[in-house]
């Protein structure tokens, strides 16, 4: 259970005023991760310029306050970045930028990282290129094996 009081001010801000909400028509890449059964789905649209910089990024998310806030922050963090930099985005950096998440919501940040990777994967597929270090996204909307990772947080 996460009550509002367990969320940092930044999470509440990004949840109540999410950045980059929307769609991009003819996006360079679109990635959808999570599933409705577990209660969160994130879809990220990226528009990438000829130099492989992320010109624009938008998202749509079905999920809790933390899911919306992590989508908002993750898109903020990759906007204007080169795809290699975007690929380096981790759930940890999303969490740090949000001043932390309640333990049971850590999976939302993993989902945000995965959503960015899924959009980059889609871009690479469409363009027929390989982005070094990018693996096929683990989970997508059509799979039912999505793991919330409640017990998988790192101890540090």
């Amino acid at each position: 259970m996460s009550t509002k009081l367990e969320y940092s001010d930044k999470v509440v801000d990004h949840f109540t005023n999410p950045r980059n909400v929307g769609e991009i028509k003819n996006a360079s890449g679109v990635g959808t991760v999570g599933n409705a059964k577990c209660g969160d789905i994130m879809r990220v649209y990226i528009d990438i310029d000829e130099n492989d910089f992320i010109r624009d990024v938008k998202f749509k998310t079905f999920g809790c306050g933390a899911a919306i806030a992590t989508s908002s922050m993750a898109t903020e963090l990759v906007k204007g970045k080169h795809i290699n930099e975007a690929l380096a985005l981790t759930n940890k950096s999303v969490m740090e930028a949000l001043d932390g998440l309640p333990q049971v919501k850590v999976h939302c940040s993993l989902l945000a990282e995965e959503a960015i990777h899924a959009a980059l994967w889609d871009y690479a597929q469409k363009k027929g290129i390989t982005i070094e270090g990018l693996k096929k996204p683990k989970s997508d909307i059509h799979e039912d094996d999505h793991d919330h990772g409640h017990d998988e947080e790192e101890d540090d």
Binding site: K37, G39, M42, R43, T61, F62, G65, H150
Partner: protein, 393 residues
């Protein structure tokens, strides 16, 4: 200033001023232990017996059959665990439902781990137990049947009288968790054939931390709390005198105002249900349209998730609750919503509004306006809604 509208009375209620007034002297003036012989004690004993009568009257029970506890959860634990223990020579089979409160469900799961067998009855899509299916589930080794009076999430009121009649005709103990029903709808333990009934004080504008178990004369379950000879040797522990006095007063008031409140509440309830259904497309009422608690509204709003919905309506001053997994800390949404057949994604998008007699029509209309705004906003950022509009899903 933004107004706050409290619509979570199934979680807990405000203590009424008259109830608090009745309790206060028992903290500082009449602080005796009811078990003591001196006047301090005797006064408190008299006060507790008055509360026993007040509570008993609401359910047409003999006051001697009321045993005070720390609340609904203790009463449920006591009834089920002690019945299981007392009847284990007869058998180890228990019948309950898939929509019980955790206090019953988890107790049954505990008993399963102790070697008991539990049948969890299905309910229909409105949350009703089928008495015919219940009767079919009875076996020679069935020792107790436990079916809640009214559901805490979706408000469905069960055919308790008929279920009680079936249990009695088979000579099986019948327990009902009446935490949500007590003081809200008429209960008659004799007419309803109830052997054991759990209730609590804080759902009826009484204090938290106090409740009772009704145990019909002759049922004689062993104590759950061992210790002193309180409560005629059935429930040890110094009586929570202020709490008991408060619950008694709250029960008396609730009973006196029951029909008036039920009329007011069901009017507000139906106004909120039709308001939300008309204002917001892809909305579904959960639970039975008429066999439901007067103050319960439970709706699913498709394509959005309950926790974010709850937090955004809270921002606008409406306090409700949700059956979404994200609000429960588990992966699955409410077991009750799944039991009535809702798919996971729709169960995740549910809100419960539970009303009190203090609420007004204006508050219902404001709630409709706020929920509509928030649902529209969340749908505008929902990939599920986008897929539906694009005909993908």
């Amino acid at each position: 200033m933004q107004k706050t509208i409290y619509l979570d009375n199934a979680a807990t209620t405000a203590v009424r001023p008259e109830v608090l007034d009745a309790m206060m002297p028992f903290f500082t003036e009449w602080y005796g232990n009811p078990s003591s012989v001196h006047e301090f004690g005797a006064l408190c004993n008299v006060a507790c017996d008055k509360a026993r009568e007040q509570v008993a009257k609401v359910i047409n029970a003999d006051p001697k059959d009321i045993y005070f506890t720390s609340g609904g959860t203790e009463s449920d634990n006591w009834a089920l665990k002690s019945a299981a223990l007392a009847k284990k020579e007869k058998g180890k089979h228990i019948i309950t439902t898939k929509i019980e409160h955790h206090a019953v469900m988890e107790t049954c799961e505990f008993l399963e781990r102790q070697g008991y067998e539990v049948t969890y009855l299905d309910v229909d899509d409105q949350g009703l137990v089928d008495p015919g299916a219940l009767e079919k589930a009875i076996r020679p080794d069935t020792i107790i049947i436990s079916v809640m009076y009214a559901n805490n999430e979706i408000g469905t009121v069960q055919p308790i009288r008929e279920i009680g009649r079936i249990a009695r005709s088979h000579g099986i103990l019948f327990h009902t968790d009446a935490v949500q029903a007590f003081g809200h709808i008429p209960i008659d333990v004799n007419e309803d054939n109830i052997d054991l009934m759990s209730a609590s004080g804080h759902k009826i504008h009484g204090p938290k931390g106090v409740g009772f178990l009704y145990m019909k004369k002759g049922v004689k379950l062993p104590p759950f709390m061992n210790g002193g000879h309180h409560e005629r040797g059935r429930r040890a522990g110094t009586l929570n005198v202020p709490g008991i006095v408060g619950m008694g007063k709250a029960a008396e008031i609730a009973s006196g105002e029951m029909s008036k409140n039920a009329k007011h509440l069901s009017g507000l309830r139906d106004r909120l249900i039709s308001g939300l259904s008309e204002a917001i497309p892809y909305t579904k009422l959960n639970g039975h349209p008429t066999k439901r608690l007067p103050g319960n509204v439970n709706m699913s709003f498709r394509f959005v998730e309950g926790e974010s919905l709850l937090m955004l309506v809270d921002e606008k001053g409406v306090s409700a609750s949700t059956g979404s997994a994200c609000a429960s800390g588990s992966l699955d949404p409410s077991h009750v919503l799944l039991a009535i057949g809702l798919p996971h994604e729709i169960a995740h998008g549910s809100l419960r509004f539970s009303l009190s007699e203090e609420n007004t029509e204006e508050e219902m209309d404001y709630t409709v306006k706020v929920v509509k705004e928030v649902v529209e906003r969340l749908r505008s950022m929902s990939p599920l809604y986008e897929d539906m509009l694009n005909g993908v899903a």
